[in-house]
Subunit: 395 residues, 2 copies
């Protein structure tokens, strides 16, 4: 079959407010990060399917004929977009050679790729090469797996002709329409389920739609208009277990219900107040007072996260180091190490930003200047990425 080559990208995600509280039915605000994952899908005539994942040092290929054997004889339909095909996942796990317990990044990435490839191209498996490059660190709670799944879904749906290319001749970058994004998101969610087991669906939704999403008790709503906010994203590189941290919060709730429950209520109100402030900023001209409120909410929530026991000395250091430069920070995601975000104001000078980044690097942290509220999944022309600093693999 003749497939369409394409280059796509999807953003990472951060939690602006509501991490942990969201587990207990409170509102969380998930935002896209302009640290993106890029994927190039190329047609080949090698009768091979190749995947290059240089970030995790993974370069594999299979004969198309071998992969064909994984398809059901009956020609019965494979896993549809709404449901994971448990039998196919089981066969792929055997094929890739992972037992149920193994959850290494490489195996999960391969499983998700093969699953979406087989389902989308079930009728006729093409030979192709997929190369992926990400600006996102893996395992840092920044939605790198969702950005990867969104890219896989968008590229393969596009290559197979299931969805049209949104790129016109004059454009270097374009976004799909609502219907196509819905389909991309659903396939990406299947990828996320393979990788994470029981994901909330927030990460792939942010990767697909970008911007800012409100999440509460399983319901995801996109904020209709969002301001673009500059931030520093810092990775303390302290490894943590989300599961252990979530259990710790639950323990603290059980130990001190009358103390902790009001704190979660207050976190909920922080998320709602932030949503309202962001909406105002997008409708009107953002004012310094808007930024003051955003900073106050960041400080308040950081204290609350410490109260529920998910802080860490490295995160305290992040807050102190940035506050010494007049900037406000909080942890993002699971806490106990991991990542933090620092709000930059429009008037924050370059020298302040550069000095802060240096201070944080001196603490041994990784630090990126980026934006939240960035666009969701996009298609790019090869030309658009020529000066992007992406590895030649993709260009």
């Amino acid at each position: 079959m003749q497939i369409k080559e394409c280059i796509v990208s999807a953003p990472g995600k951060a939690i602006l407010h509501g991490e942990h509280a969201v587990v207990h039915g409170k509102v969380a605000l998930a935002v896209s990060l302009n640290l993106r994952t890029y994927l190039r899908l190329q047609a080949t005539s090698t009768s091979k399917v190749c995947i290059n994942l240089p970030n995790i040092n993974t370069f594999l290929s299979w004969d198309v004929a071998v992969l064909k054997q994984l398809l059901p004889d009956s020609g019965a339909e494979l896993g549809n977009v709404n449901e994971l095909d448990a039998e196919l996942v089981r066969m792929l796990r055997n094929f890739v050679g992972v037992s149920n317990g193994t959850l290494d990044t490489r195996s999960m990435a391969i499983l998700a790729f093969l699953y979406i490839y087989l389902c989308v191209f079930a009728k006729e498996l093409p030979s192709l090469t997929v190369s992926v490059w990400s600006e996102l660190p893996t395992g840092a709670g920044l939605g790198s797996s969702a950005a990867y799944s969104v890219c896989l879904a968008a590229a393969m749906l596009s290559a197979s002709g299931t969805i049209p290319s949104p790129l016109s001749d004059q454009e270097n970058t374009a976004r799909w329409g609502e219907v196509e994004m819905e389909l991309i998101n659903r396939w990406a969610f299947q990828g996320e389920r393979i990788i994470h087991g029981n994901p909330s669906g927030v990460d792939n939704a942010v990767g697909t739609w970008g911007g800012i999403l409100r999440y509460r008790s399983g319901k995801i709503t996109a904020l209709s208009r969002v301001p673009m906010l500059r931030i520093l994203l810092t990775n303390t590189k302290v490894p943590r277990s989300t599961k252990v941290l979530v259990a710790g919060v639950k323990d603290k709730m059980n130990k001190f219900p009358s103390i902790i429950n009001p704190v979660l209520e207050s976190v909920d109100a922080v998320s709602c107040t932030c949503e309202q402030t962001l909406t105002e900023m997008a409708s009107d001209t953002p004012t310094p007072e808007h930024y003051n409120v955003l900073e106050e909410l960041i400080d308040i929530n950081q204290h609350h996260l410490n109260v529920i026991g998910v802080g860490h000395t490295t995160l305290d250091t992040l807050c102190q180091v940035t506050l010494a430069r007049g900037l406000h920070s909080k942890l993002t995601g699971a806490g106990g190490g991991g990542c933090g975000i620092t709000l930059l104001r429009p008037e924050t000078e370059c020298s302040v930003i550069q000095n802060t980044i240096q201070d944080l690097k001196d603490c041994g942290y990784d630090c990126w200047e980026t934006r939240i509220g960035a666009a969701g999944v996009q298609q790019h022309s090869p030309l658009a990425l020529h000066d992007s600093g992406l590895p030649s693999l993709l260009l």
Copy 2:
């Protein structure tokens, strides 16, 4: 008239939990501090009334005959124990030469002394010398004025024979009974009203009864049994205005009611959980887990106090410096500088305590090792204080 010489002392106070929240109808726990104010009342035959307040470099005397002129001609009763005699206060202000606006420590101390002296001895003014020495810094929110007022009331009621001496021959130190303490507390409250205008009455209650008092919406209840807890008391020496800080909290409540109101609820629960834990500790043998809970409550409340905007970088430093030694601290009282308390565990070693005190002194703070839950107002025999390190003035 023949008056009875006596030496009395009263403790300072700290707020363990509930500062600021108490303004909004929540529970606060006020505790006595074993930093005491000592007062010696001596009979003289000089026809003079002398007061020596070496802490504030104040040494004054008046002729009894001159003071007599301040008594009403009619022989009408002077300000009773339940009500401040506004006319007498006005006359004393003129006599001492303070306008309404002047609130310096020295003038207030003299006013309170003369007021209680004139009221208690109205029938026949004796010549006497009162000398006061305090281990408490003034103006640091540690109840130094209340300890002073309690000492004034106890000594003058005792000297006048209004209440009996509780000291038996064998004792060096003794406490009054409930009826006498009630009377001492009421007169001390009049002294506090002269000094502070509209005090809550908590400080003089702690100075009188000692131990731990629960305060909510004007109602004061003493915890029946309390454990003795070792603490460090640190004075950051950063001056602050309680009025400005209280107004700041109110502003924050008005700005973010849905965020701040639950925090005050949580503070209320911290106070109640602490009360319950202290009661358990006093009934049973205190366990390490009791101390863990006390430490957790201290950390939680310190975060809450930061959320409501009454923190200060010096208090952050206090928390960090003590945490580096494994000890937990919070601000006490108004915040915005001022004082903090650090809980010491029974197993905390002397060397750790000494090193922590040195660390805090290196930050420029004053620091005392003391206890909370100490005894309230006491009478001492002169013998009891001989090795106490008090100035010779009192001995």
